[in-house]
Structures are given as C-alpha cells and as structure tokens.
Subunit: 354 residues, 2 copies
Amino acid sequence: MARGSKERNKAAAPRALDVAAAAGVSTATVSRAFNTPEKVAPEIRDKILKIAADLGWMPHPAGAALASRRTWLVGVLIPTLDHDVFASQVGALQARLAEAGITVLIGCSNYDSAQAEAQLRAMLARGVEALAIVGEAQREGVFDMIRARRVPYVVMYSYRDSAEHPFAGFDNAGAFRSVARHLLDLGHRDFGLIHQPAGDNDRVQARLDGLRGALAENGIALRPQHVHEGAPSLLFGRQGLKAIMETSEPRPTAIVCGNDTLAMGALIEARALGIKVPDELSITGFDDVAMAAHMEPPLTTMRVDNAEIGRRAADYLRACLEDGAPDDPQPVEFHLMLRKSTAAPRSRPVLPDK
Amino acid sequence: MARGSKERNKAAAPRALDVAAAAGVSTATVSRAFNTPEKVAPEIRDKILKIAADLGWMPHPAGAALASRRTWLVGVLIPTLDHDVFASQVGALQARLAEAGITVLIGCSNYDSAQAEAQLRAMLARGVEALAIVGEAQREGVFDMIRARRVPYVVMYSYRDSAEHPFAGFDNAGAFRSVARHLLDLGHRDFGLIHQPAGDNDRVQARLDGLRGALAENGIALRPQHVHEGAPSLLFGRQGLKAIMETSEPRPTAIVCGNDTLAMGALIEARALGIKVPDELSITGFDDVAMAAHMEPPLTTMRVDNAEIGRRAADYLRACLEDGAPDDPQPVEFHLMLRKSTAAPRSRPVLPDK
DNA sequence: TTGTACGCGTTATCAC
DNA sequence: GTGATAACGCGTACAA
C-alpha cells in the first residue's frame, strides 16, 4: 500500500489521481485542465476545476517541476535590503517577473563574499532558472558555477561595456565624472571625499575612479587627509566632514559624498560647525533620496532610477528564458540634480575659534 | 532510449547515476554522500564529492523535493519593498532562515489584495513550507487557503493578543496611545493628524484607534478639518500641515504623524510657514528613521525594531517546521524617543500675514 | 557501510 | 478531445 499503511490521522494530501477519479477522467486531463485549459472540453474543464477546488488540490510543485523541467523561480542576490537602492531594484524586478508568472527567491550577502556564494548555491539547489546578481566582484568561480549550470544571469547595478557579463545598471564612473565636472566648472580646485567602503565593491571603486580621473584631467589630486572611508551612515558623514575641516589649510571648497546619507550628514555637520553651504563649501550626494530635495540647503545629487534597473534586469532574464539570446540591457541614464548645496567657491570655509 | 534520442547538441545535465557510475558506487551512496555524509566511508565520500564537482553535479531540486517532501522554501508576503520597515523585516527574516538552510521567496502586493492573493497562490504553487504575511487584512479565504494546505504561517508587523493567528509584531494601538499620552501629559488639548491610507491596512487602523481612544479618555476628539489622509510622502506631510494650519482657529498645538516621512515633511513645512517647533507646535513621527534624530529640531518619534520582528517571525516558522507547535512569538517592544520636536504648548501657532 | 528497489506526483508523448 | 503510459531524478526503507 503506497500511502496510509499506518492509518494516518492527518488525511493525505489529495493528488491528481484523486481529482481524476472524482471527475471520471484521467490524470492527463486533470493536468491539461490546469495547464492548457483550452485543450479540454469546457464542461469537463469546469467540472475538474470545481472538484479540485472542493478537494483543495493544486498541482504538487515538485512533481510538476520534475516532469516539466520548469520551476518558475528566479533568484536575486544583493548585498542587503537595508538600502533603498537595492530594495527598489528587487521590488521592481519582482513586480516585472510576477507578470510572467515567475516568483523571486531572495538572498542577501551582507557584503560578504562567502555568504554570497552560500546564498547562490542554495538558490541553484532550489532550482532557479535565472539569476540577477548585484556586483561583479564575486568570489572566484562563482560565475563559472553559474555558467556550468547553464543558468542565465545578469549583473545588476554595475555597468560596463564588456562582453564578460550582461549588465543591467548605469555607468558609475561616468556618473561621478559628471559630478566632478560640475564642481570643476564652478571653479573648485580643492576637493574632499567621504565615501562608503570600496573593498569588494566594484560600483564604489568605479565611482572613485571616475572622480579621480576627472580631477586628474585637470591636474588635481585628492589629498589623503581629505578622503574618508567608512560606514554609509549619517553619523559617518558628520564625522568625515568634521575630520576634513579640522585638517590644516588649505581646506577643500567642495566635498563629494558617496551617497546622500553621507552628504546629509556632512550638511548637518557643516551647519553645526557654522560653515555656510554653498558659499564657503559645496557638498554633493548620490542617489537623490526623497529627503535630499528638502534639506537646508537642498542637496545637489545624482539621480538614478533604480526601479528601472530592476525592470531591465527582469526583462533581460525573461527574454533569456523565452527567446534564448536577447541583446544585453541598455545602460540606465543618470541625472545630476542641480540644487542649492553647490555653487562657485566664494571663500574658504572658516572654523569658529574653539 | 531515455535521453538524447535526438542526439542533442547541448550535453544533458549529469544525474546522480552518472556520478555513481564514475565513482563505482550506487546512486544511494551518492545521495548519502551529500545528505548524510557521516554515513559514508570518508574515502568514498571524498571521491564522490570530487567527481560530482568535476561533473558539475548537484542534486536536482525537483527530484529531491519530490522524494524528500522538502523544498526548504519559505514565502514572505509584504506590501512593498519601498519602505524601510518592510525591507528590514524581510532582510532579518531572510538572514535568520538562511541559517537553517531555508531560502526565502518574496512577493509584494503593492497594497492590493488581489495581487496579494495572486502572489500567495504562486508561492503555494512553488512549494513553500511556511509563510510570513504582513497584515491580517487579507482577502476572504486567503487564510483558509493557507490552512487548507497545512502550511504554517505568521502574521508580521501587526500584533493582537488573539488566537486567530500567530502574530510577530508590536501593539500598534498601544504605541499610538503612548504617543497621545505623551502629548496629553505635556498639556496639549488640540490635535492634528496626518496619516497614510488606512483602508485595508490593519496596522494604520489600529494606530488611529489607539490615538482616538487615548484622546477620548480625556474627552478630546479630533476635528475632521485637522485630519489628513494621503500618500506617506514628505510632500504630503508638508501639504497636510499647511492645510491644517490654514484652517480657522483654534489651530491644533500638536500634530501626530503616521510615520517619520510625514513628520519630517510637516517639520519642513512648519519652518517654511514660520511656525516655531516645539514652542508653538509639537510634531511627532513614527519609525525613528536615521534622519529623525538629525532634523532641526530632532524629531520625537516611536522606535520599533523591525529587524527583531523579522527575526521573531523566522524563529517561529523554523520552530513550526522543526517542532510542530511552538508558542506564539512575543510582541516586540516599542520605545518613544523623546526629542526636541515636542514640548508643552506655550502659544498657539500664528501664521504670518499673507 | 553499501546496494537494491521502489515511490514521490506530475507532465509529455503517442495512440485513439 | 481524451486516455494509457513512460519518463522526470532523487531519497530511503530494507536487505545484505
């Protein structure tokens, strides 16, 4: 006896065979009633659907996956959900894939490549049909593992014009170059930089490269004492600005921040120090979070449509699953939001006497 | 011929049988080498693992799920990832479940009960073993559907002391009661309210009930013209405050906001209107986002540890899967962060002449 | 410790 | 339009 040899108290879950028996049809027809309803006579279909509903039956996913070789699962691997940027990307990706009947598996690496690899293995072991991964700085062999399984994937958030991976993102270096040029055009020559950790983070590295490159073109280099790397928090933004302003002169007249949170921290600290923004000091952010436009003064920052990144990644993966070999996604545009935290330098920032 | 009858150009994926043949063992031993390695002789195990790695084999999830009746999948259904609150909950839930080898499926309803139901069906159809759902205001039959499948679940974010569902969250009504009492204790008697949409949202409804209840105990009612419901955005916070302040006297001396975003908007608008906070007007938020403490003045708000909510939900579901019938999660504490945006009312807010 | 043999529940193929 | 039947790939009692 296959099931219930020890008479169970919990009734066994119904199977397609039970529905078929009750409807007086074969399991094949039950399956068709659910998957290709147009190929089943309307009366029979309705009867099957009703009986299935009564019995509380739906196709068992494992059986269906085994026979059809489809799981309708796609994995997305991100550093953390605690940043709006990634949350937006995942949200949009999920919405777009849901339209195609695909469900999203989520994994967070917490910026740890070992966790990233573990999450990835778990996803492959759950049968994901495709993957979206933030960042290309992964452990050696990670992409080989994905390719070996012939799972289509896309690298999200980053963007390079390269055949190495398909990318759905924007040009981080270009975006920061654009910030730098805005400040250079205003006449700034002494820069400070407050940024989030760059190790293992190709996006941040690209941004720094873009900034340094644009400055170098003008014969300008960042002084080490004017560069602070740390947690992407409001608090570190404050600390970073304070440390820079306490260095000996010449003090920078422009502070570039790795994201808006740091920039808002810097703005708050500038006010606390009595430094006038933008007259004495220009400050730029990155991301254009909701609060940025409402700061005092409103923050000049870079807007990137993260939801669009998620959508493009989703569309690309859908195309992979449906067509086979789609074109790589186009890079997402970025827009410098010129507001009141940047201006031509009028005077050097002065600290009040202690 | 089972496979490759039409000679395929793409080599077929390796199966356990291939690994077994290469290692000179049976498929049973291959399976054991992966699932219960301690029951396989070390040399043989290592040999199998090496061959599997070389061949790029890992157990096919559908076959494994079918035979073991385990998918190691848990679903989480939230309104949106665009709010830190839910993103934090999901992030912590995912981290905690990953420790147990469980992968998380995510679905967003966008505050739409039809989408919620569709997402839920999809998750059940993918074989989730348990579910975490934000909010108990779901379509009729949703919870019946879950129970019919005997899938353990927990309602996240909300909390009621009720046998109807297991809850992992906090007492929304109590939290708002606490905000109201703080303002009442300061001497406020005229209140305004700016809040996010309450329809279909049991958390918001509970909060409003808590507020109105605490006021009613003191014989106070909210005037309709002092209540504004709309998008949970900075902008609506500004608009709401402006509308309230433009009503005829007596104007409220305290504004309760449904979340920090609205409260920060209100704070910004108050500054724009020349209304002194907290001397003329007290403003409260909810959530204690990072920016709240750095506003001018720092925002009095309610802190809830959303990551802890996610963790408790995860622990409860793990216990369901492992033990069977754990105790319901304890409610998460909330803490009123007393800062500078609230004070005893000194004078009524005055609008400058237009 | 290892192998044998069977069941897991569905879908796809091919007749009819 | 429908039914019979053979995969699908693995886990696991049971036997050895």
